[in-house]
Symmetry: C2
Subunit: 301 residues, 2 copies
DNA sequence: TCGCTAACGTGAATCCAATTCATAATATTC
DNA sequence: GAATATTATGAATTGGATTCACGTTAGCGA
């Protein structure tokens, strides 16, 4: 049997209006239409939904069950419709973020915290675990924004610049390299490099230093968490290259040394990638604005 | 906008089947029909529900919202349909009982207790407060069964006999009438009669004794609860006429006397009135069977 | 009890919207 | 890049919902 929402609306209207004729008026239909509709529904259901002994017809016990369901379901539909309305006008939406750079957790949380106060209706989430194909995921609408420092010219994707940072060398104060004012590619030959577990073309050390110079570090250890990387570096089990904002805490720590890389002016830029059509959405624009201003404030203070 | 269940079913099917074509097969429709339907729905809603960049098309974030609603609502509809199925086959139903005779509470609870074990799916209730127009209420399907000792020949109503009882006179042992072996109408002239608060034509004392004899008791006090009536009678503040099954407890109590009425063979019959079409329903038949057998067992033991 | 009025039911005609048919456009795969 | 699979499109068709016109029934007051 094929119950439809139309039927639920009708049942509710007849009940509210207390009769077929008034209900018909309410719904901008003829009384006859409703009569036919009810008859059809009763056919479907296989029993009488109304008592016709008394004249303004009233719900039977089976009809009351239907009414209860209607009263539960129809408000849900209304809510859904209102939600779509809000979606259209841009008050609400979804902001699922994929991050290619693990270190971004650091400032991203702070930014999201500010964001969700301004846009409480927007469904926010961070999706780790798809760092490799985050751009296809963006196009498939699995996520809505990708934090990346490797803009690729892709149809349908807009790259919004956020802020610049310096990939910075960090090592133990015990490490012999502490003697050098600046670190170059060959310095890594006899070092254990510690990095996030992502492919080399997503790691600044490789893309900007080691790969061009065709240098391979003595060992390469993959670690997920920034705190753990710093811990290992602190105990001189390896060296790392991290964005400057991450190592602001260890800069003043005597156990660590930080040094600029190679020519000395290495700068990278972080982007928020969105689908073209989303870039204009008000909450997206706001998020990107926050992503531009807040991290630099964080780094200073 | 007019979302219909059809749309929810479609969304769910496309998601389950993982594509339009397979979904169409599932729903016994052409792929084209679904394509049109989805397009129409997206028009209504005012945004894309699916991502078409990749070929087996997938839900967009708005589509996912719709899917969530569908997953909540469609099971409710299925449950409803199953319920109607059960209603048709008679496994479930409603048994709302109106009682004209207050004293019936006594045995009715016991019967209902047995009944609800046998028919757990049937919605049981006792409706007091419409003793006066219980038969119209029965026809209006406000209740489904009326316990009555006053069968009226009414179109659409079947009276199923339950059991017989004797309206019995009960008074304090202190009352002068205790001396009489049998109580007649004129004996009430100088007595306070205590009865349930219902119209006289529903009270056995009047219909079978006082009204025919045109006798009026000295006073007539209305009391709701059987226990209170007996209490008042016990302290000789009045006399009462109650069904024999109610006074089985006081028969052995020295504070009370019970006497037969008038000619001595006054017997009344209790009926369960149902709508004609309901009388055949299995759970109704079962209830009536219980209503015949259980009260007499109670009275004996 | 009669007749009036309001409310509901019925059947044929109509209309609109959902579906189909046929085919084009587009992505995916090897 | 051909072959395949998947979705889109437009005209034609179908079918179900609605309307129209009228018949029927219940309620109500004189």
């Amino acid at each position: 049997m094929y119950i439809e929402l139309r039927h639920l609306r009708t049942i509710r209207a007849i009940h509210q209006a207390g009769g077929l004729a008034r209900a018909a008026e309410m719904m901008n239909m003829t009384q006859s239409a409703l009569s036919h509709q009810v008859a059809g529904l009763e056919d479907q259901v296989g029993m009488e939904l109304f008592v016709r002994r008394s004249k303004p017809m009233t719900l039977s016990s089976a009809g009351i069950r239907l009414l209860r369901t209607a009263d539960r379901i129809l408000p849900e539909i209304s809510a859904l419709e209102e939600e779509f309305q809000s979606l259209r006008t841009g008050k609400t939406g979804r902001l699922h973020i994929a991050i290619q750079c693990h270190a971004c957790f650091d400032w991203l949380f702070a930014v999201l915290e500010m964001f969700r106060h301004a846009w409480p209706e927007v469904d926010v989430d961070i999706r780790a675990g798809l760092a490799f194909d985050s751009f296809p995921a963006l196009l498939r609408e699995e996520v809505d924004l990708v934090i990346s420092s490797n803009p690729e010219p892709l149809a349908g994707i807009t790259f919004n610049p956020l802020f610049d940072y310096q990939p910075t060398f960090v090592a133990s104060a015990q490490n012999p390299l502490a003697a050098k004012p600046m670190i170059e590619a060959t310095d890594f030959r006899d070092q254990t490099l510690i990095s996030y577990p992502v492919s080399r073309d997503k790691l600044d050390v490789f893309t900007d230093l080691l790969t061009p110079a065709k240098v391979e570090p003595r060992a390469h250890r993959l670690v997920e968490l920034t705190a753990v990387i710093l811990m290992l570096v602190g105990s001189n089990r390896g060296v790392a290259v991290l964005p400057d904002w991450v190592i602001r805490d260890v800069k003043t720590n005597a156990d660590y040394i930080t040094r600029p890389l190679a020519p000395g002016n290495l700068t990278r830029r972080l982007y928020a990638a969105t689908r073209d059509e989303d870039a204009a959405k008000p909450f997206m624009a706001h998020f990107i604005r926050l992503g531009r201003s807040e991290p630099v404030k964080l780094q200073r203070g």
